[in-house]
């Protein structure tokens, strides 16, 4: 399973793709079960270079019955800095945030590795 992420150009906010729109909560992200649908969304996301920057796909794992980013870095992006629990998306709390906090597992996202390689 994958999701598509980026940072919003005008404020740097971490955003996720959902059916043509960019949303702020990971819990609202569209999930892609197959490579083709993820890559199609990635192409569509990258066609908006004046809305978002650094568009890439992230790999997901199951956590507490919900999906969470596989990479720890991506979980921190989806939560906020862990030293300030009231800063960033994690401040909202709830089951979706807890699932992110408790997720384990940890390799880098393949999408980001590709992004770095391209740079």
């Amino acid at each position: 399973m994958k999701a598509l992420t980026a940072n919003r150009l005008d404020d740097g906010e971490v955003v996720f793709w959902n059916k043509g729109a960019w949303v702020e909560r990971f819990a609202d992200a569209e999930l892609f079960a197959d490579d083709a649908s993820g890559e199609a969304a990635e192409g569509a996301g990258k066609s908006q270079p004046n809305t978002v920057i650094d568009v890439y796909l992230i790999d997901l794992i199951e956590s507490e019955g919900l999906w969470a980013p596989l990479s720890f870095r991506e979980r921190i992006r989806a939560l906020g800095p862990l030293n300030h629990p009231t800063h960033g998306k994690q401040a909202e709390g709830g089951a979706a945030i807890e699932a992110l906090r408790h997720a384990a597992g940890a390799s880098r996202s393949t999408g980001r590795v590709n992004l770095i390689k391209r740079k």
């Binding site: 740097g12 906010e13 971490v14 720890f72 862990l82 030293n83 940890a106 390799s107």
Partner: protein, 551 residues
Amino acid sequence: MYQYDTIDREFLADRAAEFKEQVERRLAGEITEDQFKMLRLRNGLYLQLHAYMLRVAIPYGSLNATQLRKLADIGRRYDKGYGHFTTRTNLQFHWIKLREAPAILEELATVDLHAIQTSGNCIRNVTSDPYAGATAEEIDDPRVWSEAIRQWSMLHPEFSHLPRKFKFAVTAAPKDRTAARVHDIGLVVRRARDGTMGFEVIVGGGMGRTPYVGPTIREFLPANRLFSYLDATLRVYNRHGRRDNSYKARIKILVAALGREEFARQVEEEWEKVGAGADMPDTEIARIRAAFAPKAFDTLVNRSEAFETAKAADPAFARFARNNLKPHKRPGYTIVEISLKGIGDTPGDATSDQMDVVADLGERYGQNDIRITHEQNLVLPHVKLDDAHAVFQALAAAGLATPNINLITDIIACPGLDYCALANARAIPIAQDIAHRFADQDRAELVGELKIKISGCINACGHHHVGHIGILGVDKKGEEFYQLTLGGSGAEDAEVGKMLGPALPADRVTDAIDTIVEVYLRERVEGERFLDTFRRTGSAPFKEAVYAEAH
């Protein structure tokens, strides 16, 4: 403090206006991210994990109260009510919006601050001694030379596209509080036997992927020849630095490849071509020096009855005085170090309210002079001993009176993976966990001077190579592991720490530090700091204890 003139101020206002237009064009889609990225970085604006980060330059770590209040105000209005002081004595705001960044630059310009040369392959902000102008140890005021270097390097066209970034440190005291020997160029003010002032020139130190303690390429450079010599040094670097490989592009790699003697020879050869015409005129140095004229100190006696009485009556103040007050060159005065390492806090973070408190204290008790240290603390360099208790009480009320300067809980940590796009692992929670373990001040004082420095990646913003105990976060198949090094020093006895053994998982790090401390307490002889004991015993007893427990 150096005062900007009308031209400086107009330039900063113009620069902010220029950036405003550039941001508007980017947001309107008139320029691409590839075109824009260089422009925003040239104004200190990075994209990190959660938002943009603005790195504000604090020239040689020196601020007045008005400037610190402005930083507090920006933190409150444009960030989340705080800022992060870095190992380069800059301030980073971590929650900046691109659309608001131009307004912040406009605000900074109103108090002579900016974010120029806080990114890119140029000469960055100069690090200097936070005790400058206050310590009796110094031969000269290093801020004079730091400011002269700032003026010489600011937007210097020849040195704006170096092979890689370039960092200076300038100190004039035998006790090095600038990490001069691990900078690209470290300048140590020396006085010749005939009284002439000059510099020991250290080139090619650095941390990161390939750490080096810089060699001295000239024992004594007459002060009035500084800038032609710097021109020559930078030219040799600009000509031969490895632009083909960013990992090998810093000057330290060139100096190591050529060898100290050959690098020095090439600089001398170039220096002859440059000639004295490139030196800064004595009159200009004198003009800059006037801005750092000694403060008007009252004539006081060494002993302050108010200070002694307060120490006797208030044990917390006595402890603070023991650890955070440092000797001042004038009788009846003291240097106050303000720790930004409260137990469990994020190293280097200060809230806007705390910044306001320090600004008020600096203005009321400290001759309007505030310093930032490369160890991520603040300093009020000129406080009367008579006022020290009042300053302590105000700091304590603001959560800023942690009495741990140079102790095991005075930990340097970079922002790490909690914020930084480059990091492989978190640094902050490791610092917090160690600080909690050693929260007992009696134990921390028993251990004595012990500098722990933590970086979340090999770029070494947390100076782990020169920590007495260094901790480097590494990524092992996506999991956070931490590599320990022992015996490093960023001071006058600079040394790169030695790797202790295999990296440890996060939950083993604090226990390992505890074990290392216990070995030190067991092994040390009278008067030895941790570093002294380690240098005498070597790694063996520490390695044996840490890895015996790890298995």
